[in-house]
Symmetry: C2
Subunit: 80 residues, 2 copies
């Protein structure tokens, strides 16, 4: 499969995050993408999309506030 083919499959060929957002921005987050380490990037990456701007921001998987954001999303589903 060609590199372009891979890319069109949404497969990133390198790490997508250069730096991470240090300020807790939990309430501005519309959705979060979790990308486990893979052959192209040995870091787990977390990319949040912000509500108003749709801007993508990288988060530090080890930051306590980031872990809380993920836990809150996962637990909020059971409040039906």
């Amino acid at each position: 499969i060609s590199l372009r083919g891979l890319k069109s499959l949404g497969v990133e060929l390198h790490c997508r995050c250069i730096q991470t957002e240090s300020k807790p921005i939990g309430r501005h987050i519309e959705k979060v993408e979790l990308i486990p380490a893979n052959s192209h990037c040995e870091e787990t990456e977390i990319i949040a999309t912000l509500k108003k701007t749709g801007k993508e921001v990288c988060l530090d998987p080890e930051a306590p506030w980031v872990k809380k954001v993920i836990q809150r999303i996962m637990s909020s589903s059971s409040r039906r």
Copy 2:
């Protein structure tokens, strides 16, 4: 902001998941998107992208195996 503008911002105007994958497919997952409930969809939604095909599959946020997949991704970052 026009509906089209919203759409281009990546803002979904409705729920994206109709059904969820019941079989534990953890090892086939390339990345996972967590979408908290919002004004357009009152369900928390989890959308996984599969490794080989790049296919998107909805996961049940309350299924134990799904919670484990998320926890594993979050904890794998600290094994550096």
